[in-house]
């Protein structure tokens, strides 16, 4: 199938939607489909061969912050040319209610269009007011996908129509192998954490509490923390002075370094106390084959197959976490077992599986239609 995919956000800025588009496009290409992605991008950004730059995105105020978007007649005519020259069987637009390329693509094209909604749309009134203008564009969408139940609900409530829920995938092969950071995991053992240090629901407090016990029992044990931190000093102050030099804060890390962090620890901990609908970080740790200790919130229970693919502890219980992590640190055989189980379990969340579901949607939408053309 010849698929034209539209990314609304600048390719050179890291973001969830961009990553989704890239991973999905690559999974579809692996299946032998022809994919062309159009995305805003700086002219000097190196782009993968399947991405077409739509010119520099303009920073504009959007939703209370500044987003880099592509809009206007010039962008529209670029998309029109891409559609015309692409000869696509189907268009797949992402976030069509963001004022950028995806919306413009719906406007200038006709034919089978699939749209994926990533985030909840907070401002329904804006859509009501501009609906007459957007209608011609949005009505052309013939198949809708939501990445979560929450996104589906807002879509149903605000725009109408229904959507199939197909969650984000995990690009497992990107996590499979990486060089550990220099000096890690070390001989005394190490525990890893990924996520915001100042977001209580990520549960770092529970892990720090458990580390008080674990660190006192094991003189060589170290804790590796990566993720945007409000104030690193503040985090260290929550650790007893004697253990402070064994807690390493990396701050925000690049995608590559994130994978290296996962390969730098003996045990990975997901101590979240709630607010996770899927637990993407935990799934990524599984894809790296790190043995996992996670709180038993619903999302983790599901992704870890009820404890088969990783140890679960009662959410918020630092003592139980210390016990579980301690057991794992002492038992290399059990760690190897969990690692293998995690790798097997995460395969079902791989993009190759997710892409197959997306392909099902494509096939339904193109039935009996002749392909994408420029709208008259």
């Amino acid at each position: 199938m010849k698929i034209g995919m539209v990314c609304p956000y600048s390719w050179d800025v890291p973001g969830g939607v961009q990553q989704h588009v890239r991973d999905l496009a690559e999974a579809l290409i692996d299946y032998g489909h022809e994919v062309s992605v159009i995305s805003p991008a700086d002219d000097d950004t190196p782009l993968p061969p399947y991405v077409v730059g739509a010119g520099r995105a303009v920073p504009v105020p959007y939703n209370g912050s500044v987003a880099r978007l592509s809009f206007g007649f010039l962008s529209a005519s670029r998309v029109r040319r891409w559609v015309k020259e692409g000869g696509f069987d189907l268009l797949h637009v992402h976030e069509p209610s963001v004022p950028s390329l995806s919306l413009l693509a719906c406007w200038v094209a006709s034919g089978p269009i699939v749209a994926t909604v990533h985030t909840a749309i907070p401002r329904s009134r804006v859509l009501v007011v501009t609906y007459p203008v957007l209608r011609t564009a949005l009505e052309k969408i013939s198949g809708r996908i939501a990445v979560s139940e929450a996104a589906r609900t807002t879509l149903v409530e605000h725009i109408g129509g229904d959507a199939v829920v197909i969650p984000n995938g995990v690009a497992t092969r990107r996590y499979r192998k990486a060089e550990p950071l220099p000096g890690w995991p070390g001989s005394g053992g190490s525990i890893g954490f990924l996520g915001r240090t100042d977001e209580p629901r990520k549960g770092l407090a529970v892990l720090l509490k458990a580390f008080e016990t674990l660190g006192a029992q094991r003189p060589g044990l170290r804790l590796l923390i990566a993720g945007p931190a409000g104030d690193p000093e503040e985090v260290l102050n929550r650790v007893p002075a004697a253990l402070r030099d064994r807690v390493v804060l990396l701050g925000q890390v690049s995608e590559e370094d994130k994978v290296r962090v996962l390969h730098s620890v003996d045990v990975f901990c997901s101590p979240n106390t709630g607010g996770e609908s899927f637990g993407i970080v935990t799934a990524e740790a599984m894809a790296a084959g790190v043995p996992i200790v996670a709180s038993d919130i619903e999302a983790f229970r599901q992704v870890l197959r009820g404890g088969e693919a990783g140890e679960l502890f009662t959410t918020g219980d630092a003592a139980e976490l210390a016990l579980a992590a301690g057991r794992l640190l002492d038992d290399p055989a059990r760690r190897a077992e969990l690692s293998a189980a995690a790798l097997a379990a995460v395969a079902e969340y791989d993009w190759s599986v997710v892409a197959r579901e997306v392909l099902n949607v494509y096939e339904t939408v193109v039935l009996g239609r002749t392909g994408v053309a420029v709208a008259q």
Binding site: V58, V60, P61, Y62, N63, G64, L69, S70, F71, G72, F73, L74, S75, A76, S97, V98, P99, S100, L101, L103, L104, C106, W107, R123, R125, V126, V129, T130, P132, V133, L134, T136, A137
Partner: protein, 183 residues
Amino acid sequence: MIADIVLVVAAALFVGVYVSWRAGRIDRMHARVDMAHAALDASLLRRSSVALELATSGLLDPATSLLLAEAVHGTRGGDRPRDLAESDLTRALRAAFSQPDFRASLSGKDGADELLAEVESAAHQVFLARKFYNDVVAVTRDARHRPLARALRLSGKAAVPEFFEMDDSLLADFTQATLNPGR
């Protein structure tokens, strides 16, 4: 003796009249601040309503329309402070108007020229109204800060007027041309 009394009474009378004149002046200044604020408020409302008119006119591409409508919505009692929300609208309008060939792509369409002119004039009015408002705020604040006014609390219970800061440099060329027609 009598002459001395007359002199003291006259001096007291003079001081009284002077102080009450100063108090009256500060009072009038606050009234002018209120009027200027009302004018600023009206100009901001007018700007946001013509911006919405442009957004929903069907003249623009849907992305620009949505962008403008979002920005207008933000100025209508969202959770963002007004100065920031209004500055966002300025930036959204500027982003729309500074597209290459923006005007050329619209001219000839029904009502486009009038609507664009109205948006520009509304934006320019915001620029003027804010300038006038901040001027009268500055004078008032200065008058309130004089030693005599502070010592005698001549401003009474009136709150200190605040400057209104925002990005209103929407269409710099237009503004320049209007303010300095000779250039």
